[in-house]
């Protein structure tokens, strides 16, 4: 089994935190994992991506090659489209619906979403609304992990355990909101 996930978003949205949760769950399941991250300048509101590769055997490359990502998980529609050439022909694009507009030439959001919905396998998640319902706007990333849980080669229980291990130390309320966000995200994509 080889599985490649490309995470996308805008610097500051918390792209790496999604990768960290999934990576953690994968390793707990005994899978090999390599996670390549972008630090530095791009984190200042620029386009940010991270690659996570999972396998039941040793992994060589830290990077996903073109046309070979099984999943693009994006916190922002335009950013999800940006890396489409990495997506395999059987891969899935899952993106948050809300536009992050910090550039003057941001395209018409309806056109972007329409383009995404026209892909063979794409899911658009109203993650802001779901996060709010889960009781914490900060849980958008967790909503997206929940939405991805159907296609990830991981048990939802492992993902919940990884969330618990990550958010436990931030207090019970934060943990509860994140678990709720995960389940709501999962339900929304189901």
């Amino acid at each position: 089994m080889n599985y490649g996930i490309l995470f996308a978003g805008v610097g500051g949205q918390g792209v790496l935190s999604m990768a960290a949760i999934i990576g953690r769950a994968a390793m707990a399941e005994g899978l090999h994992a390599k996670q390549s991250e972008v630090h530095g300048m791009a984190q200042r509101g620029g386009a940010v991506q991270a690659h996570l590769r999972l396998s039941d055997g040793p992994i060589e490359s830290d990077l996903i090659a073109l046309g070979s990502a099984d999943l693009i998980l994006s916190l922002e529609p335009v950013e999800g489209l940006r890396y489409l050439r990495f997506l395999s022909r059987t891969g899935t694009l899952i993106t948050a619906a809300a536009a992050f507009v910090n550039i003057p030439d941001y395209p018409d959001i309806e056109g972007v979403l329409q383009r995404i919905r026209g892909l063979p396998r794409a899911i658009v998640i109203e993650s802001d609304r779901i996060a709010e319902q889960a009781g914490d706007l900060q849980t958008v990333n967790t909503v997206m992990v929940g939405a991805a849980s159907h296609v990830l080669p991981l048990e939802p229980e492992s993902l919940e355990a990884a969330l618990t291990a990550t958010f436990e130390r931030k207090g019970e309320q934060v943990l509860r909101a994140n678990l709720a966000a995960f389940r709501a995200g999962r339900a929304a994509a189901g």
Binding site: H32, M41, R44, G45, D62, R85, P107, G111, Q138
Partner: protein, 549 residues
Amino acid sequence: MTQRILLGDESVALGAIHAGISAAYAYPGTPSTEIMEYLLRHQATHRRPHAAWCANEKTAYEEALGACFAGRRALVAMKHVGLNVAADAFVNSALVAVHGGLVVAVADDPGMHSSQNEQDSRFYGDFARVLTLEPATQQEAYDMTREAFDLSEAFRVPVLLRLVTRLAHSRTTVATGAPRAENPIHKAPQRSTWILLPGNARRQWSELVARQPDLLAWSESCRWNHLALHSARRDLGVITSGIARNYYRELLPELGAAPSHLHVGAYPLPVERVRMLAAQVERVLVLEDGSPFIERQLRGLLPGRLSVAGRMSGEIPPTGELTPDLVRAALGLDSRPGLAVEGVALPNRPPQLCQGCPHAHAYKALKQALEGLEASMVTADIGCYTLGALPPFSAIESCVCMGASIGMAKGAAEAGFHPVVAVIGDSTFLHSGLTALMDAVAANANMTLLILDNQTVGMTGAQDPIVPSARLDAIVRGLGVDPDHCHVVDAHPRRVSQNAAILRREIEHRGLSVVIARRECKEVTRRKARAAGGSERAETGAGTEATIS
């Protein structure tokens, strides 16, 4: 044996700790920053080894050299361009008889994700005539770092460990071993091997040159340089270095019969192994992330029998980061494009100053101050504020190297240009601006220096600057800047006009003036709020290191 999940950078840090270092020094710079951040976290919980940020890479290197002089092992870490700053110390330290192991970890940034050039540090290792190690994986980063200290002591040279962005910032499982104890304090026994007076230096230089065959002999037989000859295929041989091996190996199943392959992880280049490979094949493809360092040596000057392919022959683009897809194309495999975006023009999203960044307010004031002037020149420097080059600010006109803003402004002023403003951040000023300001004071250069004091090293993740901001104006005045023309202003959005007036006055003043625009970086404010109990999500996975067992 313990398994941990580590970034390449963190693997180096832990390898050094387990090699028994007593001290580590660094200046932050992407993609090397996480080496020191790991060491600082470790120090906070274990007290040893001593770990500290320094004013710049040169002071960091010299401090590590001092530990080595005292017989202790020391690590110094920096980004590739930092080695330019530390080059004086580095190149000369190759001539002394290294005592305690000394390793310099340098993270190159092919593709310039966060840098102003993509120089390849392997040239520096060759130039200084020392050993260079180049890990391909996080595991090798750990293992090589440990071994580098032994090698440094055995061969009495500093050892350069070359990382690249993709390894530095990629995380996976690393098996770690038992830590080694620190060296006892034991001063270098022979003074003359450390006093590089010409008489000694000539001897030390000859000795270093005479030791080269030993370094080469080690490189020829070490486990990091691995040759696999396959007589079934004569048309192609492949040389990989560092992480290029990962991309190559992944494509092996698609290549049919495996070509003979030499992997290089240690330098000087194992010449004999290269010759053995070359003797087997008609054509060699060289895959390296960075400059054509190996390829150039293979080509030499005169045409040979062997055909060599790589960046110089165009199989791989001459610049930019090596990627799995470039390796695929160089091996002649069909490309595998993914889906294409049609019907929507995707805009670029370059990085930009954070919302409410104090630099934005300072730039507004500067633009206002320059309004109506016939001509002006604004030299600038390296940090978040370099993003002031982009719209909506478009406020600066140069960014070359750490500290260059001040020297360039002085040079331009002395060339007759007026008005000239130099813009520099507090940390960059402390790194490399002080000496240039001294020059400007000595000449009473007709220029204005604007120090953007955000009280942190913002771009690399908000490290504390080496001198607290409250002492910055005392330092500036201490260098001899006229107190009447040295101001500290608050870079508050409501003070833009007031600050612009002060700047305008000082720009019109004939002579040197300094304005320090002070206001805390938003990132620091956020961090403080987080520490005080806010629930803002963590932006990076840093600090989430997990021990599996």
